[in-house]
């Protein structure tokens, strides 16, 4: 390895640099060097005329909203797109039948393309029907694909059949949509998909036909009907009130068959990259490597029919208490959108992104870890940031982090009966979630008392879960009751060993897990962290060989059902890989859940939720830790921003004071000129002696 060093060194080569050159040669070299410096200095001075503005000067006064993406979305097909980046684009391009009220919390649905919110109509056989009526005279954004419907056509009217077409696409197994499961509540949804694949397998010619004809030939989805051009009837096999939330998502947006046929067939581009929608914005440039530009859609119903004053086309006039004080109601009743263009610039690294925000070239930003303590002091903006006019927007994300117990584990789980229950209760009392939030999230989180996060129906701000206080003395008493006095397992006469399975092996994560483990070790439980890679962790979960684990969930839609279903028998991990990783299954809970699921948001539903949380207080399949809080930084010129939490873009509500932005950018980007002058001076100092010598020698 190092043995070679013992060899005697080779004799040094003659040193060339030391050889004296002829006098003239040396001078010439000096002059050349000086010339280079001079050139550099000249370039530097010339460069002073330029600015660091990454955008064209003409856009300075236009209402362009600048934001960033780290990577272009894989697909913009609304039947498939299911991540934040894709939704930021599809949400602006595709309008849905329903959408969310911008300001109200708990979240509330308002009609968008539909005239009004449909009412559940219970049919005698237990089925439930929803009838959506579309507005008249809605048209798609202009696009070449509509030529398929007739020479020279640029757009066409939006019909109920376009929504039915999109639902068929979601059901189509070839689309591979991630949300087939919730839509399977629609009568005949899965069967339609099955018929479709069977027909394709049986007949190769069938599979070659355009999708629209295939869907027609397969008979359509039984529970989706269009009695007339503008009416859509959706029939569910059983009550599932949450279906309405899915009609506020891209999966149910009207999609013109022409677009799919044209881009996936005729033009050989991809529908994934060519959204054709009906939203307030349309794509004007789609360059995955550098930027994505959306501009106003002149054919949007809000622009064509301002007289409708549709709820999705004017700024809301009511909100949550406190919104008026924040100036969020100033624009009440004004037509949307306020901005002309949205530019998504690709930024791969977080530090340049943050620097451009500080220079005023992005309008909003998250807070990067590296700068957190510089930006936030004592939970408020630092004076430097406040002086720049930056505002801090705190919002609680509709999600929850928790520690879960594997309820099928013999020691911790259901089969251990009262003994295991007490053990789980003891562990629940010994986990210091507030300490965890303070140490590792810079305090950005709200203690979780139940699975349901703030902003959703069923969240009770006054409720304190008695099982979620930090009380290690009580925990020790519970351990005694459970038959583990001092944490000692009487069978082995050693502290009870529990594995804490985590899906990350990084040192930073280890500290976070260690904090929890140390808290439990204090009451005498020998908690061993089993840190594996994410894949190995998945495998452990699949095999059921885990005890205590750390996990999180983020809302699909703002309904308590979307959180409590994580604890239902059908969703058990052990029964087909559902998201109930705790494998909790309790008949009493099941009955309560069923009542809660089908009930509208009223006092009785709240009462059921109270019963459910009381049951969880006792059973403790989870130790609820926190609801994450996100901090966003907003420049002073950005108006009407209320963070939405779920991934629905709300760009149409935002406004930009372009004058203030131009002024601020000017002020924050004054070029620092002295290094250029200094460099020029150094260049001159080097060149001049060369020139003097040259002339002297000449003489």
């Amino acid at each position: 390895m190092q043995g070679d060093r013992s060899r005697p060194d080779r004799p040094d080569r003659p040193d060339r640099a030391g050889r004296p050159g002829r006098p003239g040669e040396r001078r010439l070299r000096a002059a050349g060097k000086g010339g280079l410096f001079g050139l550099a200095a000249a370039l530097a001075v010339w460069g002073l005329a330029c600015s660091n503005n990454p955008y064209p000067d003409a856009d300075e006064t236009r209402a362009v909203y600048y934001t960033s993406i780290s990577e272009a979305p894989r697909t913009l097909d609304p039947a498939k797109a299911y991540n934040v980046t894709a939704h930021a684009i599809t949400g602006n391009v595709y309008d849905k039948l329903l959408e969310y009220h911008y300001l109200k919390r708990p979240y509330e649905l308002i009609p968008s393309l539909a005239k009004e919110l449909p009412v559940a109509e219970e049919l005698p056989d237990g089925r439930v029907r929803y009838r959506f009526v579309l507005r008249e005279g809605l048209v798609f954004a202009e696009d070449p694909c509509f030529e398929l419907g007739g020479e020279g056509r640029k757009t066409r009217e939006i019909l109920a059949s376009d929504v039915a077409f999109q639902l068929s696409r979601v059901a189509d197994p070839a689309t591979n949509s991630p949300v087939v499961d919730p839509f399977s509540n629609i009568q005949g949804f899965r069967e339609f998909g099955k018929r479709l694949s069977e027909a394709r397998e049986a007949d190769a010619a069938f599979a070659e036909k355009p999708l629209r004809e295939q869907y027609e030939a397969a008979g359509g989805i039984e529970g989706v009907a269009t009695p007339d051009d503008l009416t859509l009837e959706v029939t569910l096999a059983a009550a599932y009130p949450q279906i309405l939330y899915w009609f506020a998502m891209g999966f149910t947006t009207p999609v013109p068959w022409e677009a799919v046929e044209y881009y996936d067939g005729v033009s050989n581009e991809r529908f994934d990259d060519h959204p054709v929608g009906s939203g307030p914005f349309r794509i004007s440039r789609y360059d995955k490597q550098s930027r994505i530009v959306l501009e106003r859609n002149p054919r949007w119903y809000g622009a064509e029919h301002p007289e409708w004053r549709a709820p999705g086309a004017v700024y809301p006039s009511e909100g949550e208490p406190g919104d008026a004080e924040k100036g969020l109601l100033d624009a009440a009743g004004r037509p949307l959108p306020f901005i002309d263009r949205i530019e998504f610039r690709r930024e791969k690294e977080s530090i340049p992104l943050f620097n451009k925000f500080l220079q005023g070239y992005y309008d909003s930003s998250g807070i990067i870890k590296e700068s957190f303590d510089k930006v936030i002091r004592d939970d408020r903006l630092s004076p430097e940031m406040a002086a720049m006019g930056v505002r801090l927007d705190k919002s609680i994300s509709p999600g929850v982090y928790y520690l879960g117990f594997n309820m099928e584990d013999p020691v911790l789980g259901a089969e251990g009966g009262d003994r295991s229950r007490k053990l789980r209760q003891a562990i629940s009392l010994a986990v210091d979630a507030q300490g965890w939030i303070d140490l590792f999230l810079n305090g950005r989180g709200v203690l979780a008392q139940t699975p349901v996060p703030p902003g959703l129906f069923g969240y009770d701000p006054d409720y304190q879960n008695p099982a979620r206080v930090l009380d290690r003395d009580r925990a020790r008493e519970l351990l005694v009751d459970a038959g583990y006095p001092g944490g000692i397992d009487p069978e082995t006469d050693r502290p009870l060993r529990i594995t804490f399975d985590t899906p990350s092996t990084s040192s930073a994560q280890l500290l976070r897990d260690q904090f929890i483990a140390d808290g439990l070790r204090e009451i005498g439980l020998d908690v061993q962290i089993a840190a594996t890679t994410y894949n190995q962790f998945q495998k452990k979960v699949k095999d059921g060989s885990y005890q205590l684990f750390f996990w999180g969930w983020s809302a699909d839609y703002p309904d308590p059902e979307n959180f409590y279903f994580l604890l239902t028998c059908d969703m058990r991990q052990s029964q087909g890989g559902g998201p109930n990783t705790a494998n909790f299954c309790d008949p009493e809970f099941e009955a309560l859940f069923e009542r809660m699921r089908v009930r509208g948001n009223d006092e009785e539903r709240m009462e059921v939720i109270r019963e459910m949380r009381a049951l969880l207080e006792r059973e403790r399949p989870w130790v609820e830790l926190l609801h994450p809080e996100s901090y966003a930084l907003l420049h002073g010129w950005l108006d009407h921003v209320k963070t939405f939490g779920m991934s629905f873009p709300m760009h149409k509500y935002r406004a930009i004071d372009t004058e203030a932005r131009a002024l601020a950018r000017d002020e924050w980007n004054r070029p620092v000129t002295w290094p250029a002058y200094a460099l020029a001076a150094v260049g001159v100092a080097i060149v001049l002696p060369g020139i003097f010598t040259f002339f002297r020698e000449r003489q």
């Binding site: 390895m1 043995g3 140490l439 944490g487 040192s507 204090e522």
Partner: protein, 338 residues
């Protein structure tokens, strides 16, 4: 046998081994003079290494019970070092010798007693730094104990006996040497799993090649020397020749390689820790965990400084001693004044 009993037994064995080596060195003039020369040249470095070894040994002597601790710790073996720092755990960060916590300025449990402050979980950094010594020496020692015998066995047999055996050994060596070391290491650890023995084994597998190559060459040369030829002519058995004439003449190489390899191994572990597959409690892990702390404002510098300095001081001392050892033991770099 539980871990702490094994650890205590090993300390005992090392003690006996140390005495035996001392006796051997006292009786052998060559080694005695060499070591005396080493001491003359590298007093400070040897003292530094001595301190590290002492700390590591103290941290290896552990027993259950006693002291004033709660929870699981009361049922676990705690080492002498652990017992010194008992009851000094704070809530979170505190600066070196501070009387209050870093954020919030709450009074500490052990004010002004944290020589190097505390980390994010409130653990004493000086304590963790001292405990790192055991991990570092364990990695260096155990890995060497795996790699050196392996390298000697393969190298000497290949070099001395030659032929087919030599071909095979050389092929294995070339194959291993042509694989990127770090990738091989990561792959091995992923295959073997995380843990002290696994990491030492993985490091051992990837680090024997260098010494093997040197010993093979040396044995190849020694085999042709007159006294070996003479022994063979007298009918001495091959194994006896290897034992009596070849191995002793390789010992200086082994010692030099051991010392130099040692620092390389400790450093490798630090790199592995940075990739998240190091050992718990190593300096590498401390440095990795302190990564984010440097970007905090005000900066939290004591974790990374403590671990970095401890690592640096040990490696520097070991390298100094290694270089001196080479000068003293290797006949080719023999100096006039020795």
């Amino acid at each position: 046998m539980s871990a702490h009993v094994l650890s205590n037994v090993v300390v005992g064995l090392l003690f006996v081994l140390g005495i035996a080596t001392g006796v051997f060195v006292r009786r052998n003039r060559l080694w005695r003079e060499a070591l005396f020369e080493l001491w003359r040249r590298r007093r400070v470095s040897i003292l530094v290494i001595g301190v590290y070894v002492l700390v590591a040994l103290l941290d290896s002597i552990a027993w259950v019970g006693g002291g004033d601790v709660e929870g699981v710790a009361a049922h676990e073996a705690r080492s002498v070092i652990d017992r010194i720092f008992e009851g000094t755990r704070e809530a979170s960060y505190s600066a070196p010798l501070a009387a209050t916590s870093f954020y919030g300025k709450e009074p500490l449990k052990a004010p002004s007693r944290h020589l190097l402050g505390t980390d994010i979980l409130g653990r004493d950094v000086f304590h963790r730094t001292l405990k790192g010594a055991r991990v570092a020496l364990l990695i260096g020692g155990v890995t060497s104990a795996i790699a050196i015998p392996l390298a000697l066995l393969l190298g000497v047999s290949a070099g001395y006996f030659g032929g087919r055996l030599d071909d095979v050994v050389f092929f294995v060596m070339s194959t291993l040497a042509s694989m990127p070391g770090l990738l091989l290491l990561i792959a091995l650890i992923l295959a073997l799993g995380k843990g002290t023995w696994q990491i030492c084994l993985a490091l051992g597998v990837t680090s024997w090649v260098g010494l093997c190559r040197v010993t093979r060459g040396e044995a190849f040369k020694l085999r042709e020397l007159d006294y070996v030829q003479a022994a063979r002519a007298l009918g001495v058995s091959e194994l006896r020749i290897v034992w009596r004439h070849v191995l002793p003449n390789l010992m200086h190489l082994v010692i030099i390689t051991f010392v130099l390899m040692f620092s390389g191994l400790v450093l490798s572990e630090a790199i592995l820790a940075y990739l998240g597959i190091g050992l718990d409690g190593s300096w590498g892990q401390m440095i990795d965990q302190a990564r984010d702390e440097l970007s905090r404002d005000p900066v939290i510098w004591w974790n990374i400084t403590a671990a970095g300095t401890a690592l640096f001081a040990l490696l520097l001392a070991v390298n100094f001693v290694g270089d001196a050892l080479r000068d003293i033991l290797d006949p080719r770099t023999l100096r006039e004044d020795l």
